[in-house]
């Protein structure tokens, strides 16, 4: 984060004890940013401990309180969330240095590991909209580029889909649990942030088209590679595998992967991303050779 205005505040009042026992308060520091292109800054809040808290209830308390540790009235911290049970992917942020969902980040465990404080910051690989909210539309653009869908003829009644083995179903199910949270991309050294500013006189459409073009040329990341793997093993998806393989080996494709294997370690759904990368890598190699011979 290049534009961090100042590091953790030290001189500010803190909760004296944060050992996680009822009735005690604990410290939460949040890396805030008022909007795109604005400087970021740390802010300390004191939160009253309750049983069974997670980082969502911490942020709810901060929003309800809207006062910093030193009593200053501030705008509530902005953050994304929806399901609160780790299936929607919305509340992804960096908590005590680790990218994860705020809803499953339980306060008791965080304070066990670090009784001093809980540190919340936005993901670094996506443009900050405000505070802990980031714009992850690039992930959805990647899914467009990769044609991550089953290209059925129509939505009319054509009977059931193809029969599948339990083994295939299990493999596809695991890949299909990807909730586009972005953890794998945050942890990936090859995935770099793209942040655009709207030019003067540029319409919204023009801006999004320009952005889309940049997204299309940038690295698709582990989640994109796994999506190709998922749809190219689907019995119907396989029929258009070539289109997805073309995208997989195009600019920003699988060749960017540096095999750091961070992705698989941070995936909250325990998707075997490196297995997918290996499988997709083999398919890409075969595809390249075939293309070369077919010339």
């Amino acid at each position: 984060m290049s534009n961090t205005r100042h590091p953790h505040p030290n001189g500010e009042p803190r909760a004296s004890q944060s050992d996680g026992r009822p009735g005690r308060n604990f410290n939460v520091v949040v890396l805030r940013q008022d909007g795109p292109g604005r400087p970021s800054y740390w802010e300390r809040h004191i939160v009253e401990y309750e049983q069974d808290m997670n980082c969502i209830s911490v942020l709810q308390k901060i929003a309800a309180n809207a006062r910093t540790a030193d009593g200053r009235k501030v705008a509530p911290v902005a953050w994304d969330c929806n399901c609160l049970e780790e299936v929607c992917g919305a509340c992804t942020m960096v908590i005590n240095g680790r990218v994860r969902q705020a809803c499953t980040a339980l306060v008791d465990r965080l304070l066990q590991d670090n009784p001093e404080q809980i540190e919340l910051r936005p993901m670094r690989k996506f443009p900050v909209i405000r505070d802990l909210m980031v714009d992850r539309s690039r992930m959805f653009n990647t899914l467009k580029k990769l044609k991550a869908w089953v290209p059925v003829d129509s939505y009319l009644d054509m009977g059931p889909g193809p029969r599948q083995s339990q083994e295939n179903q299990q493999m596809a199910y695991v890949l299909s649990k990807c909730m586009s949270c972005g953890c794998c991309l945050e942890a990936c050294p090859q995935y770099l942030k793209i942040e655009l500013e709207r030019k003067e006189g540029e319409t919204e459409e023009e801006f999004h088209a320009r952005e889309r073009e940049l997204h299309d040329r940038a690295f698709i990341g582990a989640m994109g590679i796994a999506a190709v793997d998922l749809f190219n093993t689907n019995p119907v998806g396989r029929m258009t595998a070539t289109e997805r393989l073309d995208a997989l080996v195009a600019e920003g494709g699988i060749q960017i992967c540096g095999n750091a294997q961070n992705c698989v370690k941070v995936c909250p759904k325990e998707i075997p991303l490196t297995t997918s990368i290996a499988r997709a890598g083999r398919a890409a190699t075969v595809h390249m050779l075939k293309r070369w011979f077919d010339r």
Binding site: A63, V87, T104, W149, D157, G161, Q166, Q170, A172, V236
Partner: protein
């Protein structure tokens, strides 16, 4: 001629199904959602999706039986033609979702696997692990993305729908929405508007619902003149994990796969559950309902769990109400293959492995059977005339309602795994109706209308927004008012309802509404202001909260999820056979009389002047399956069922 556009508000299963089908029919769509649609609340649906299938058919099942289970489960409050049509479409809907790539669990031979769910004796439920809703949502999300690439669909994600735009004839001509990032308020012309915004669980504070389920889109449409049906019918799911921020669902599929609900016979037995021997366990659902066991419908399971804790004092814990939901006797391999998704949720949030130890669960607000009133066009055979614009259209011309936010299909209680099929079905069938409506507009398309109508509405909403920002800073905190609203609603209008408590709640809610309308914001900025979005949603919770309370207050009976102890029919106590029969006859007489008075949909319309709902009642189309006592083979209820059957035979003989 300008191309016609349809606006869809909400990108869960219903909204996405409608969008995808409309795109296929050549209609352009603007899709609005509070969140990226892939993060919609449908992803929280766990257990599965119901339909008759080739296996159940061979055991005697048929579409008609799915239809019958659904209306019986809903205590006969649903209009029957839409339900009949839905159950007939269900097998085709699952086939379609299968083709779209949903990773349904498979049998060893490669067919779709099914499990049993509540309120039926057949294994009708197809499932993808224990995250079926997520998998269905993703398949539709992918299809809609496909149409987005070809520019048939334009998504407006992170937009807050502020209300419909009606012309001087009261016809819908578009909607107003606010960009939740830039806070810009804009008018969007359209020839039809489909509301698919889901449930309103946040009115209850904590529920199993997602944070986007505020009901605001529905409330704003209601306040613009749309009617609201059966508001008081709120489903409380029997099994959820209590939590500080949310009550997390523990799917019925846990019981569908063999999970058992029990409490120790000795109150607050201190032994860990796995050390309590069989004879010291009280499997109260199995004992009271031997036929359906743990798979009685949700309203019944919820009341039994509630009673065993409150009346019988058998809660597992002393200071917190809960019972055991036990899957620890099931093979680990089965649990991992079929239920991993939900067991992981329990493990992550409770830190206990439910494969080894019984889970502690308690009921939680889960689903709204009621919703925007909408129409349907019936065929002579009792199904729906597909393609008719009347299907799912509200009383405001041009506005449709689908999914959880319509009032069809589930009556007074929804059966598990019927919501997913209802959402996709209502979405799919609304597409041809809405397409027919916009393609046969007699007047001009919305895109050709003068901009004055749109400018006026934009200005009106802009003024309201500015008023919110300009409120004095010394008012109350909206988050605290919301918490209080949730407490009041949960106390008065969930499992057990009493008229005095409902009266009290009506007063409380009125007071809270007055306070919410004066609450002040802690953020008055004009960029990504979540404070504004929340406060406005809070203010819009009150019309629906009042509709729920008033509907419940007026309905002096027990039906499905609506339960007032004061109006419970007495159980048959006599042991003497003649006396038993007499009591059962009286019971049946009372049943007939009660239906004459109360087998009616509650229909509310909003009075802006009084800020109160006006309640009327509408007859229910029960022409296909006549109402009958809903006992689910309860121990002691057999004589009632026998007397009722004999009456039916006599009536038929008389005809």
């Amino acid at each position: 001629m300008a191309r016609h556009r349809v606006i869809v508000v909400g990108g869960g299963l219903a909204g996405l199904a409608a969008t995808m089908k409309l795109a296929e029919l050549g209609v352009d769509i603007d899709l609005f959602s509070l969140t990226p649609v892939k993060r919609s609340h449908s992803c929280c649906a766990q257990g599965g999706i119901n339909s008759v299938n080739s296996l159940t058919r061979q055991l005697g099942d048929a579409e008609w039986k799915h239809f019958d289970d659904t209306v019986y489960g809903g205590d006969f409050l649903a209009h029957q033609p839409p339900v009949k049509e839905m159950t007939e479409w269900a097998p085709r809907i699952i086939d379609l979702m299968d083709r779209l790539g949903v990773t349904f669990n498979r049998t060893p031979e490669g067919f779709r696997d099914q499990r049993r769910f509540g309120g039926t004796l057949f294994a009708r439920t197809s499932f993808a692990g224990a995250t079926t809703g997520q998998q269905l949502l993703y398949a539709l999300d992918e299809q809609v993305r496909r149409w987005e690439v070809t520019a048939h669909v334009k998504k407006y994600e992170c937009f807050d729908y502020l209300g419909p735009i009606l012309d001087e004839n009261g016809v819908c001509r578009g909607s107003i929405a606010q960009d939740m990032v830039s806070m810009e308020i804009r008018a969007f012309p359209a020839d039809a508007l489909i509301i698919a915004s889901g449930g309103c669980g946040l009115i209850y504070g904590r529920s199993t619902m997602s944070m986007a389920c505020t009901g605001s889109a529905v409330s704003r449409t209601f306040q613009a003149g749309a009617r609201y049906g059966n508001g008081e019918f709120i489903q409380v799911h029997p099994t959820a994990i209590p939590g500080a921020d949310k009550l997390r669902l523990m799917s019925e599929s846990a019981r569908g796969e063999g999970g058992r609900v029990w409490v120790p016979r000795k109150p607050q037995d201190p032994r860990p559950p796995q050390d309590i021997p069989e004879q010291d366990r009280y499997y109260f659902l199995e004992e009271r309902y031997p036929k359906y066991g743990n798979l009685v419908p949700r309203d019944i399971a919820t009341r039994e769990i509630f009673n065993v804790c409150t009346k019988e004092g058998l809660s597992v814990e002393n200071d917190r109400l809960c019972v055991y939901l036990d899957v620890s006797h099931l093979p680990r391999q089965l649990l991992d293959r079929k239920l991993a998704g939900i067991l992981e949720i329990y493990e992550k949030f409770q830190g206990v492995d439910p494969r080894a130890t019984a889970m502690k669960i308690f009921p939680a607000v889960h689903y709204s059977m009621g919703g925007l009133w909408c129409d349907y066009e019936r065929t002579a055979e009792g199904g729906l005339n597909i393609g008719s614009p009347r299907n799912q259209q509200t009383n405001i011309p041009g506005i449709f309602a689908i999914g959880e936010c319509d009032y069809h299909y589930h009556g007074a209680n929804r059966l598990g795994a019927n919501s997913l099929v209802a959402c996709i079905f209502s979405g799919l069938i609304t597409a041809p109706g809405a397409a027919a409506l916009v393609q046969n507009l007699n007047g001009r398309a919305a895109a050709e209308l003068p901009s004055t109508l749109y400018d006026r509405e934009t200005q009106r909403h802009l003024a309201r927004y500015k008023e919110l920002l300009a409120r004095p800073h010394d008012g109350e905190n909206p988050y605290l008012i919301h918490r209080r609203l949730g407490d009041v609603m949960t106390k008065a209008a969930t499992v057990v309802r009493h008229n005095d408590e409902l009266d009290w709640a009506c007063e409380q809610v009125q007071d809270l509404e007055d306070r919410a309308r004066r609450a002040s914001l802690s953020d008055t900025g004009n960029w990504t202001n979540q404070n504004v979005i929340f406060t406005r949603a809070l203010v819009d919770m009150f019309p629906l909260a009042k509709t729920i309370l008033k509907g419940a207050r007026l309905r002096d009976e027990c039906r499905g999820a609506h339960y007032k102890p004061e109006f419970v029919f007495p159980e048959i106590h006599a042991t003497d056979p003649v006396q038993r029969r007499l009591e059962a006859e009286a019971w049946c007489d009372r049943f007939v009389e009660n239906n004459r008075r109360w087998l009616k949909s509650t229909v509310a319309s909003w009075s802006a002047e009084d800020r109160e709902p006006l309640i009327t009642y509408e007859d229910v189309d029960t022409s296909l399956i006549p109402p009958r006592p809903r006992l689910y083979g309860m121990v002691g209820g057999d004589i009632i069922e026998q007397v009722w059957r004999e009456r039916g035979v006599r009536e038929e003989a008389a005809v």
